[in-house]
Symmetry: D2
Subunit: 438 residues, 4 copies
């Protein structure tokens, strides 16, 4: 199978390890990823960001093929039981391709909204749960393809996606600081948004991979040849930091996400109160009635279905739901005000959140849905052992921050972006509030 | 207004001529273009091709700003009444931004399907018709923004989109062999598909623009300074040829389009016969009953609505509609066989088309929907007067093919790609048929 | 060995087949290529074009590694004696790396100048002759490295560079329409000049390689899988055409080359007449006295030595030599006038050449050195058998033009660029001459 | 004037402010920059790095045109006497184009070597001194072109190159943390070496420029609109850090530079002692005899002359000079060992330097020339006032580190790379020395 990919160029799955990919590609569960955008509503801020989880899955599997090729060039020095056999390569490629199967509509967004809904009492499951279900459930096409290849494959792929494998170095390529997921999404999100800062040097990173020193029977971890690859690692971390600053934490994206959350919470409230809404996905009905949706119901969910439902809900009888849906459809996004300095600490944020809700209430708007504080956080670099650095032949494995000028200075530092988000008509009152506060 | 665009990088609309763009951007009709993919079903073959008409509209307006800037650098030699005033620049930028407003779902696809439907008796209107309606209708947001700026603006923009203007050189930038539409879509489609052949040298093309010699009061046409820009023109034509060969005529795209056409035709038949189908767009109901849809009904149509309808129609009572929708959802695409040589001429194609339909019928499949000949054609280069070439100071305007080695050899040549398209289970019978024929 | 290359990114020579490259890299004859620019005087027109034959040699060897990898993926279907053994891969990589060893200063320029010099009576040898000498001579580092690896290696590499090998498909990768030399220089010249037209899709071309059908014991030729790779082939041919039009035939480059030729011819004349010139390369002294230079003398020649000699010759007693060298040093280039239409045919060109020389003579300038007609020609595409196209599994090998829309229209067509080149002070007289002629 | 540049694409100097560039381009002093490589011997490590100061000068002038265009878009709010008049724009563009005129052979290398030579007693002048001489001297072509335009222009351009101007914001674009010199060289060095880390987002940086708040009559400084441009600033600083880590401090480059320094020091010693050497540049003779070279002598120096002299010195009678030149010619580079941790502090470095020299002496090699400690240092980011950041309309100007997550963590931190450099045959003894030390 040969494909053109805007990020990696030519993608092919023709090695023996990868022949499972074309089979998996034809499953309904993988095809469903065509209908889920990688970055949810980010295209409201970056018009090009319409790329899908499907393209990302292909990209991640492609990058995994490169990891496999590199690991095989260097695994000759390991005991034979620690080497990357064809079976292990196959499960790694499958895991890379399938790691995102369980995402709901708009990627993280649907999941986050359910998590925030008090109605569900925290019973909403994360997408990782659904990924595992899809891999293991006897009813899915994906499960069938995996089982037909090897009866243990579903379990092994599921374990790898969780980051568990008898070869820790292989587990880290699926789930770690420098895993194939990040390797692909950084480049892909950069390509689609036009934010060049997300680029880093993948070929050089791959070429610098080696095994860390190890003792005894335990398979070694991954390391980087420091003289060749340290800059690749550094630029990878910085690329991710830049993408958070520029894209993932962008104010319009966060405002759009807030609105979706408000819409979903409102719809769930109405459903629980017995209101009927058109075009309602069965999975949402289940959630609203405290029932776990069936896997089949969950898999019907996708961006197209959810957005078309929101389109129809513009005609809902409930004025709040109707209003929120109308605003989102017309991209009349909520506005934001950044909170700096002391306003950023948790206690103050909570206080300001309360004041902002009061502003909404005073204006006759539902306080939980129309105003509040939004906090986005990420720690760009934590010095862990998932990838070490070796500076010279026979040298010991060091943590990257030990040898990197820039990572040493970023280690464990947290980037926080806090904002007030509110309906545009509240801006004067919100500004007055902030002026009084500062 | 500042935007990041994956193709052009930084896009801004801040000059006086362009301040209308942010206003138009907020209209419902422009926002609707976010829900229409530029290349319809091409993402079935090229996973990255999920870019929208919305991003293309921004890109076309951006390119028009560059045309305007260039034309202003050189219009000093023209009589003042032929120069590019601020009003004219504004209408050109607006026309570039709005030229695609009338597209139906999946871009050309919906329109083509209706055109092919005998049911409609050729009464289906082209998207250009709807673009003009949206510009002129008193009920649209776009019409309001234009009128609020200048009461004649809707009419002037509509004329420009049709390629009519008192300055022919300006008209050609909106609609001509080297117009802003093509300038943007070639680069954008190349970027999204990963097909590098679609690239050409836009800055050099722009920089080489000049006016052709003219006589009397008639405003001059556009020309290219041949020593600087001929290669840019040549590579533009070749880029377009390559995109046709690689992307627009790709077999999977054509097969998917065939299936959509079959689905829409079948749905219209059912509607006409009185069958009710869920999620049916009102505009389709109108078409099926021989009524022209209202503009509001037409504007409700978008990819999301149509694809979600197809999703629901999988449960339709009609086994043919249900089957076609199920296949498309699962990307179980129809197969193709290329027709070469003499099989390609119109008479032979018609004969083979008949034989293929018979194959379908023999297999118990609806012949009009499950098999037939698909013909795709384009003439990459016709030597017209929309852009001439001047080889030296004061020299006469020549047709590009007169001075170009490669365009001279492509002039008026037509690229034809003919294929049999059919349900996969017909492959053995189709192959037998072709073997017998050759 | 790992290298960063601006064109191919990461270059490494670490496979068993390629370990000879780091050894060859350290030879004086290869290091000499660092001092010879790939495009001679082209940097006078394109300031970035300072890249060297050394970088090109690395690039060509890198591309050959990709050819080898691809050929090995597909050679399993051949009889074992036709497969690409490790020895054959090694000699192919060595040949790619060494194919340009014999170039004189400023690449083709020195060779062309000697060829044009009547003084030498056509005895000047082409660079291919010197490449072979360097490979076979017992005194060179390169010869020693090759012999130390395998005593037959010098002869086998020399044969491959000439395009001779028991595996014709391998010979064509070193010397053919789509050889590694062109594969690299098109991309490299495009990258260095900034002329984007020189790009084509190398990975897709490589991936589309297959063997043509063959009969009997003869090893098959190379073919392209037409559905995947035809566009790559087409764009390769067009990229080369564009580079000729834009770069290799650029008027400033041709004018600079004309001046170098005049300088060298004049210097040889003076030498023959017994004049001593400072900094004179020994090889030129040999040429001037009708003696073949030794290989050691030839290898001392490089850009730096020749250009520094020209720098010193500005102080020569001969006013003509001094004048020409001073002009070149200050980039006071000769001017050009394009000859179009009938003026372009050989008979007319000869007549105009005579008239132009007369103009120079009338102005008191040496006619042979200060004015004349310069003709540049290339046939972008000749349909040969070095690479065929296979359109479907088991299909016959066709010539590319048979199946390619654009190559069919370019086949055997010749691009000719004829110009008058002359000292700037002759411009009025030359223009008057041309005006009278037209 | 139109040029193709591999970094910026199309470069043109056609505005009224820039018409001086084509005039300056024809001067001998500017043409001389064609013969000086931007990165000296870096091409020994990165084969593509053959780009010249000439191309960089064009690039810097091109970037300055963009700065001028941006400053003019925003200077409307300043009092008229603080605005960027056409005269000021012209002198800024000229200063950008000419800022490197005084560089000696191999860029910084020749200057550094003379600085290190005790023979010259610290009397060697920096390249800035020569730049100013060339601008002001009555005998130069450049001086004449500037004076012919405006008699005060030489002085004004010289002041700007020193970073002095009545408009501080303009001075900072010529000489500051984010000046046109860095803007161009980061991109150009990245393009030529293939080290992608050197890229940053120039258009976004330019677009984000604004004036900082100011009080009274003093012209304001430059600022960045923080919401739009902070990432551009951050990535600029990081790009420079990466280029230092990867390229400017590369071990092969540093080793080659050490060798050139040894060669020049040795040659000067020999000259002082009365030895005659062939091909000796007159400027070096002057230096060796304690005389300041004339400007004409200095301007004869370029890479080609120096490297050809080194070529000839291989035949020198002095065995040390001959040996060093032979090694460099054959790229038999000195080797390096990194010094980490405590070995890096100044006191330890001095001790190790002494020990290494002793190793050389013990091996019969000249200790000053064949072994020693090489220290490279840079402070990637110092928070100065040359560019401030404004976070919101009417907000105060802040230092970048105050608002930037990453710059705050890099502020005033110094990157140090210390290495032992030595002739390859000393490696065992040097390794033994280091083993004993650690």
């Amino acid at each position: 199978m040969l494909l053109r990919d805007p990020v990696h160029g030519l993608i092919s799955f023709e090695s023996d390890d990868a022949t499972i990919v074309p089979l998996l590609l034809q499953t309904r569960e993988v095809q469903r990823l065509r209908r889920i955008r990688q970055l949810g509503l980010t295209c409201l801020a970056f018009p090009g960001a319409t790329h899908t989880r499907f393209a990302h899955a292909l990209g991640a599997a492609h990058v995994m093929q490169h990891f496999v090729a590199r690991l095989r060039k260097i695994h000759g020095g390991l005991p034979f039981w620690q080497r990357l056999t064809s079976e292990r390569a196959r499960e790694a490629i499958a895991a890379a391709f399938l790691h995102d199967l369980g995402h709901g509509p708009l990627s993280h967004l649907f999941e986050d909204a359910l998590k925030h809904s008090e109605l569900l009492g925290g019973r909403a499951k994360p997408h990782e749960y659904y990924t595992e279900q899809i891999l293991l459930d006897p009813s899915t096409d994906v499960g069938r393809v995996l089982r037909d290849t090897d009866s243990e494959l579903p379990q092994r792929v599921a374990a790898l996606v969780r980051g568990e494998h008898e070869l820790p170095y292989l587990a880290r390529t699926v789930s770690g600081t420098f895993d194939v997921d990040r390797c692909d999404y950084l480049l892909r999100d950069a390509h689609a948004t036009g934010v060049s800062y997300g680029e880093y040097d993948l070929p050089w990173l791959l070429r610098s991979l080696r095994f860390a020193e190890t003792s005894g029977d335990v398979a070694p971890g991954l390391a980087i040849d420091g003289l060749k690859g340290l800059s690749a690692i550094e630029s990878f971390v910085l690329a991710r930091l830049f993408m958070f600053q520029q894209v993932y934490f962008h104010k319009s994206t966060r405002a759009g996400e807030w609105m979706i959350r408000s819409i979903l919470i409102r719809a769930l409230q109405l459903l629980r109160d017995g209101t009927r809404l058109p075009q309602m996905p069965k999975a949402m009905l289940a959630f609203a009635t405290g029932r776990e949706p069936t896997l089949g119901e969950y898999l019907q969910l996708d961006d197209q279905m959810l957005l078309e439902a929101i389109n129809q809900w513009r005609d809902a009888a409930d004025p709040i739901l109707s209003d929120l849906c109308e605003r989102l459809r017309a991209r009349a996004l909520f506005k934001t005000e950044e909170l700096f300095g002391s306003a950023c600490n948790p206690r103050e944020r909570a206080r300001i959140d309360g004041l902002a809700r009061q502003v909404a209430e005073d204006a006759g708007l539902e306080p939980d849905l129309y105003a509040g504080v939004d906090v986005a956080q990420d720690t760009p670099y934590s010095d862990d052992a998932s990838l070490t650095v070796v500076m010279d032949e026979g040298g010991r494995a060091r943590r990257p921050a030990e040898v990197s000028f820039v990572l040493d200075r970023l280690r464990d530092e947290t980037l926080t972006r806090a904002r007030l988000i509110f309906a545009p008509e509240l801006r004067p009152a919100i500004r007055a509030l902030l002026a009084k506060e500062s």
